[in-house]
């Protein structure tokens, strides 16, 4: 077993968080881990969704937390600390991806202008997702690979909105793009991923796994 599902710890409420930030800024620097602890899974998820490699994502996530630590004085309290932290993680992951994969990893899907209408390529019926689906590493891997094929501009919007669950406005602000662009890119990203995944989920991916739950094929 290489990984374990750890649900997100409940974030501290805004008032507690504000107090914590003030105490850290006033010198109690050892409290910083308490501040980031509720968001460490989200920081890792953002980095992993962009880098699609666990080791690189951990490095990027650690570096993002250290940068947040170093630059805490620059955080403006009108936005949420979690959004600021995730934005740093996305920037860190994006920088590493560009540096390390600039020539190797060309996205294979979609080179059309983002406002061109998108026609679904597949109408496979994909109604239900069994609740245990994501406990299977091979299924998670399929999803990671599908996301990796998207062009960067679609992937980043999708990561902030659907993986990190930021609002459309927060996503727009984090990426310095318009709300309309977020909506357009999000539509494209979701439809492309559906096209990539629906035949697998609607077809054989899940049934192939059934023998692992006790029904042996022999």
């Amino acid at each position: 077993m290489s990984a374990e599902a750890i649900p997100l710890a409940k974030p501290v409420d805004n008032q507690d968080e504000g107090t914590l930030i003030r105490r850290i800024r006033n010198g109690e620097r050892e409290l910083f881990y308490d501040l980031v602890r509720p968001y460490e899974r989200r920081v890792f998820a953002a980095a992993y969704a962009i880098l699609h490699n666990e080791a690189d994502a951990e490095d990027a996530a650690q570096e993002a937390v250290l940068k947040a630590f170093k630059n805490l004085r620059q955080f403006r309290e009108e936005s949420r600390f979690s959004t600021w932290l995730i934005q740093i993680a996305v920037n860190e992951a994006r920088m590493r991806r560009r540096r390390e994969h600039a020539k190797v990893m060309e996205p294979i899907v979609d080179h059309q202008p983002e406002d061109a209408s998108y026609t679904p390529r597949d109408f496979a019926d994909w109604r239900e997702i069994p609740s245990e689906t994501l406990e299977r590493k091979e299924i998670r891997q399929r999803l990671v690979e599908a996301l990796a094929t998207l062009d960067e501009k679609y992937r980043e919007v999708f990561v902030l909105r659907d993986v990190e669950q930021l609002s459309i406005e927060e996503t727009a602000k984090a990426l310095s793009i318009s709300v309309a662009s977020v909506k357009t890119r999000l539509l494209r990203a979701r439809l492309m991923l559906r096209d990539l995944l629906a035949p697998g989920f609607g077809g054989g991916w899940l049934s192939k796994l059934s023998f692992q739950k006790g029904k042996k094929p022999w």
């Binding site: 374990e4 750890i6 409940k10 308490d34 630590f69």
Partner: protein, 199 residues
């Protein structure tokens, strides 16, 4: 208002996010109810958002939290600097030498339990992820109803045990078998179960 398939596809993402006005929503619902293709697109698009947003999609690697914490502590320690830093380093060195000299003394190579009434676990899988609260005394599976603190941190079981946490009576009861129930009353270190964790 009547909409075509292409219009449904164009607005499907906004439909899921509740970003369209009521007349368009009603028209889309009417269309989708009678169109199997658009129904398939809606279901699939919803599933995409749901799957990637699920917290099980990107589980933290084992030991992530402790490595991150270690990095932060590293970052903090040079800041102490000066005479205090040297004193801390010297104290650590003395402690390390002292611990080495004591060798196999169980009182030194096993951490004290946080609660002297607690029981050690046996056959606890060392890499099993558990959660602890800083002020707590026991480790739990995530979501255990015996967790009372608002914030918890996750770590492998072996690390929790090293920090003196013991298994929760509720969610970790299977690691508290009858053989582990007897603890010498006058010694909090007489815990035969601890070695099993490192096997």
């Amino acid at each position: 208002m009547v909409v075509r398939c292409e219009e449904v596809w164009r607005e499907i993402s906004n439909y899921i996010d509740g970003e369209i006005d009521q007349p368009l929503r009603t028209a889309m619902e009417a269309h989708i109810a009678g169109c199997s293709k658009c129904k398939a697109i809606l279901d699939g698009t919803r599933n995409v958002a749901r799957l990637y947003g699920d917290e099980r999609m990107y589980p933290l690697p084992l030991g992530f939290s402790s490595r991150l914490r270690g990095k932060l502590e590293q970052k903090l320690s040079p800041q102490r600097g000066g005479a205090l830093g040297w004193m801390v380093a010297f104290a650590a060195a003395v402690l390390a030498v002292g611990t080495f000299a004591v060798g196999n003394s169980s009182a030194f190579n096993k951490p004290p339990l946080r609660s002297e009434h607690a029981q050690p676990g046996i056959h606890v899988p060392p890499q099993m992820m558990v959660v602890v609260a800083d002020r707590g005394k026991t480790f739990h599976v995530q979501g255990c109803e015996f967790i009372h603190d608002k914030t918890v941190r996750s770590m492998p079981a072996e690390e929790a045990i090293r920090e003196g946490y013991s298994p929760c009576f509720r969610c970790m009861s299977k690691y508290l078998s009858a053989t582990a129930l007897w603890v010498p009353r006058n010694s909090v270190h007489g815990r035969s179960g601890l070695q099993d964790v490192h096997n």
